[in-house]
């Protein structure tokens, strides 16, 4: 029996900006149903990894594969298929300023899936409820919400169309520890409910331990360590140890 291909795969991917190499022949697989968290210091290329997977930028070399098929990037048919299956929570939530909260959550349903506004609104309110937001905020605009609430709306938008893959770009950055813990719990609940594959990037170890089945460390453009979340504190890998000890100090 042949093994199913990984849900997502970076195969020999390189990317540089100017003379600066960011990813250097990166190889990484995310099996279906796995919650993988990428950790690493600032400027190590974590966000670039997600942007490449989402086709927002092109790799200089190598391939990205979805269910074993190469993603062409930047608007190809397969890339659009990925978008149809994916939900993304951006670092700053990236909510649309000119739209109300419910219109943000229902954006894909209305504009890409052709769902009637009334139905889309009902589904948006259900998604807001799932991230423990009061439906009363549905008519408000993003600028009227706190940072934590914006993240929750971003999460509601990411899960509204029941995606198969979820990407989290620094989901707890800029939040106080209590709000960050709430966001982490919501992410875990929703990933469990959807049974989907997730890729998260963070430098917040508390968040990584809470939401990851597996953790991988990105250093100088390559994955230098990967293991179960529980092994993070046991490994003697020098880069991982330095990163963990620095955060604990």
């Amino acid at each position: 029996m042949t093994r199913p291909p990984p849900k997502l795969e970076w195969r020999g991917v390189s990317k540089r900006f100017g003379a600066e190499p960011v990813l250097n022949r990166l190889n990484l697989t995310v099996p279906a149903g796995c919650s993988l968290v990428i950790i690493g210091g600032s400027g190590q290329g974590k966000s670039v990894m997600i942007k490449l997977a989402l086709g927002l930028i092109r790799p200089d070399a190598g391939k990205l594969l979805l269910d074993g098929k190469a993603l062409p990037g930047l608007g190809g048919r397969l890339q659009r298929r990925l978008y149809g299956k994916a939900g993304v929570l951006f670092q700053g939530a990236a909510l649309f300023d000119s739209l109300s909260v419910w219109e943000n959550v229902a954006f894909r349903l209305i504009n890409a899936d052709g769902v009637p506004r009334k139905t889309a609104r009902r589904r948006a309110l259900a998604a807001l409820e799932r991230v423990k937001l009061d439906p009363d905020i549905a008519e408000r605009f993003p600028s009227e919400l706190s940072g934590g609430m914006q993240k929750r709306v971003g999460l509601a938008r990411a899960i509204a169309a029941d995606p198969e893959i979820l990407f989290f770009d620094e989901p707890t950055t800029g939040l106080d520890p209590i709000t960050a813990a709430v966001i982490n719990d919501l992410i875990v609940d929703q990933v469990k409910r959807l049974g989907c594959t997730t890729l998260s990037i963070t430098h917040d170890l508390a968040s990584a331990r809470r939401i990851g089945d597996e953790i991988a460390m990105l250093h100088e453009g390559q994955i230098v360590w990967r293991g179960p979340a529980a092994d993070l504190d046991r490994t003697d890998h020098p880069q991982v140890r330095a990163f963990v000890d620095m955060q604990s100090a």
Binding site: K51, L54, G55, L56, G75, R80, Y83, G84, A86, V88, F90, Q91, G92, A94, L95, F96, D97, S98, F107, R108, N111, A112, D113, R157
Partner: protein, 257 residues
Amino acid sequence: MRLVRAIGQVALAVLNTVGAVSLFALRGLAALLTGPWFFGQLLRQLSAIGFFSLPVVGLTAVFTGAALALNIYVGGGRFNAEQIMPQIVALGITRELGPVLAALMLAGRVSATIAAEIGAMRATEQIDAMRTLSTDPFRYLVVPRLVAAVIALPLLTVVADTIGIAGGWLVATRFLDFNATVYVRNTVDFIEGWDVVSGLIKATAFGFIVALMGCYYGYTASGGARGVGRASTHAVVAAAMLIFASDYLMSFWFSRL
């Protein structure tokens, strides 16, 4: 040698921008022809670009029409031709000042707003988010603005023409002892359909330029808040320059017809 290199660099940069803007415009036209179309966005932009520009365009037109009437009256008086003032005001407004002033007002108000809006969306990853939500940001953000400006500016020009001529009429009848009915009759008898239509053709082209510059500089903005500010400035300056240049070219072409 250094001077030659500097000139070459500037020339290359200009050519690069012209090429990029042309490709951006072609992409806009292709997206317009192929859909999907976001009609809700189009209506929203028509309201923002057209309806909310009415006060500024109207005020500009009334004062310009009034000032033009006074200047033509003074100039015409130098060779006893004051009575030709209504015809010259009407001609100047419909063929030139109506479309150009409406376009310049729109360049200041709309190009800057579009560049700032889209540039801020770029800076805060909203454009990336839109793409991951299976929606082409080019079709959602750029095409409705281009279409709205192309529809709105000719309509605003009709308003500017009417109010501009009315401004001249007001000054002429209040302060220069023109007969109100004769002024209107002289204007209507003199103006030809082509005078108005040529102005509206110009306005259509200007509308495209105004929205194109705002969208291009906003869509390609980089460098955070500073980049957004720079995009707004570039959009207004480029739109104004292109309006003047294309106005001359179209006037030259129309004069040969």
